[in-house]
């Protein structure tokens, strides 16, 4: 049963993967002007250089042929960054652990704090605690992460020399990046958990539980929490994707060599093969994480399999 569900999910992923690879492949062809000239810079490129790069990128072939080359080159490590001449897969997976470390830590922090904040708000519905929690999370989704990052650097690294502003040395260097990455997620999770919880608390079985004379604590933890948490868990996979995306900004500001920074630098350097490869690989990682979340959720809640 669960195997069939998993196979179904994997089958659904195939056309999505194909489409996203076509979209990413088309980037270089949809870019206005001659991509080769864009990559070589506006001036100073000789006709030979242009022709060489064109050859290297195989831009003289037909589109389907180019597409097949793009995919097989990426898979075999022959798709190379124009700037460093390193295989894109090597650049990507060399930096991936740094981003993964950041994303997983932020996911843990955001999940714990977000659920806590949401549950506290829902159980103290309409009190000042609830209002405070919701104002805080509203601020959390409204503050631009790059500004928050800079302000934290100003407060903790410049005004006081408490935490390192950049770099990857030791766990202390992770505190600020993880905080920045987690803040928006904490706010989003808290709002959602509160909404789910409030909904559940209105249900009949909660009234029954209370009428039975159960302690409020038991009603909350034993009845309400369980049912409110389940739908929130599906978000974990989704959240992971947003953390990957958020890493773009956090890694740029804190000078961490991760995939977010790799992509931004690639874009600024007009390194199309690198950008295309890195973006496609990020999408694949995200799809696989979502697949795993979906399947494990199918384990936890059999209803979802249908």
């Amino acid at each position: 049963m669960i195997v069939r569900f998993a196979l179904q999910r994997i089958a659904m992923m195939v056309p999505v993967l194909f489409l996203i690879s076509v979209i990413v492949f088309m980037m270089i062809h949809l870019t206005p002007g001659d991509p080769v000239r864009v990559m070589l810079g506006r001036s100073g490129a000789s006709a030979d250089e242009v022709e060489n790069l064109r050859q290297q990128l195989g831009l003289n072939d037909s589109l389907p042929v180019q597409y097949v080359h793009f995919i097989s080159d990426l898979a075999t490590g022959n798709l190379k960054s124009i700037r460093t001449q390193q295989p894109v897969t090597q650049e990507f997976f060399g930096r991936f652990p740094k981003t993964l470390e950041l994303a997983i830590l932020a996911l843990i922090v955001a999940t714990v704090l977000g659920f806590l904040l949401g549950i506290i708000a829902a159980t103290h519905q309409n009190s000042w605690i609830d209002t405070l929690a919701m104002v805080v999370s509203l601020l959390g989704v409204s503050i631009p992460s790059f500004w928050l990052a800079l302000m934290l650097v100003f407060a903790f690294s410049i005004s006081r020399d408490w935490l390192p502003a950049t770099g990857t040395d030791g766990p202390r260097a992770l505190i600020l990046p993880v905080t920045v990455l987690a803040v928006e997620q904490i706010a989003l999770i808290a709002r959602l958990v509160r909404a789910n919880m409030v909904e559940v608390l209105r249900d009949d079985y909660i009234r029954t539980a209370r009428a039975k004379g159960l302690k409020e604590r038991t009603v909350l933890t034993g009845h309400a929490l369980r049912n409110a948490l389940l739908p929130s868990i599906t978000l974990l996979g989704l959240n992971f994707g947003y953390l990957l995306a958020g890493a773009v900004i956090v890694e740029t500001i804190f000078a961490r060599p991760g995939i977010g920074r790799l992509i931004v630098d690639g874009i600024l350097n007009k390194d199309f093969p690198l950008v295309q490869g890195a973006i496609l690989l990020t999408a694949v990682v995200y799809l696989v994480v979502n697949l795993i979340t979906d399947i494990s959720y199918g384990f936890i809640d059999p209803r979802i399999r249908h």
Binding site: P144, L150, M151, R194, V248
Partner: protein, 310 residues
Amino acid sequence: MSEQSVLAQATANAPEVHSDSAISVVAELAETPRYRKTLGRLLRHKSAVLGLTILIVLAVVALIAPLIAPYDPIKISRDVMKPPSTNHLMGTDNLGRDVFSRVIYGARISLQMGFIAVGIAASIGTVIGVIAGTYGGLVDGVFMRFIDALMALPGILLALTVAATLGPGLYNAMVAVGFAFIPSFARIVRSSCLQIKETTFVEAARASGASDLRIMVRHILPNVLSSILVLASLGIAGAILVGAALSFLGVGASPPTAEWGIMLSDGRPFIRSAWWIMVFPGLAITVTVLGANLAGDGLRDVLDPRMGSR
């Protein structure tokens, strides 16, 4: 950025039920007590009023920017990195430009970014959602796999992909941000569409020989309007954030434009010596996004009372 919460919360939206053309519905609504009731509820919603007030004040500031800005926002002067004073309320930046004037002009760009990007996302997303929802079957399958593919690049990554393709520039950035928000519109509109398709008035219209196009435009579209409106107002908040982030990263508006994201990246090297260059543009973004979020949350509470929890 907040499209995640937008999706989760707006999915539960109950479509309003009207079976007339979009235009006459709007005209009709303007006279019905129902519309007044909704407007009344919105005006009694404290945080919605606060949010709308912030947005309206910003819109006015943006409109009359040349009248209230004391200096030319891109004019360089010799008063370099002066702290806030009566001459320069928010100080001057590393090129001697008046930060206050730049913040004021920045409102123009941010609001444009929010409205144009969401306009692009809402129109393309709605068309995809309505077609997929109405036709179903293979059409639905193809359109939705396309949307799934776009969603495989979450948030700013999709915007970055489009921005990398189109090249830098403010208007390209608007298109890029718009693309990032297409999936949420398409999905919400499609799911509302699927619900409405099963209602008796659509069945009746079909039985009386109405064409698919007529059913889409006259019956389905007016009924998904409220979902679109809620999503759009929350989307504006997200679009302003992503837009500023693109400019901050160097793939959006280009210097010397008075844009808040650019002001932040320009001010970054001087964070040690001139905090004011960075504090005020960031505050401006936060307040603007807060306003849009408050207005959006309020609109959702009012248009969909089931979600309202207070």
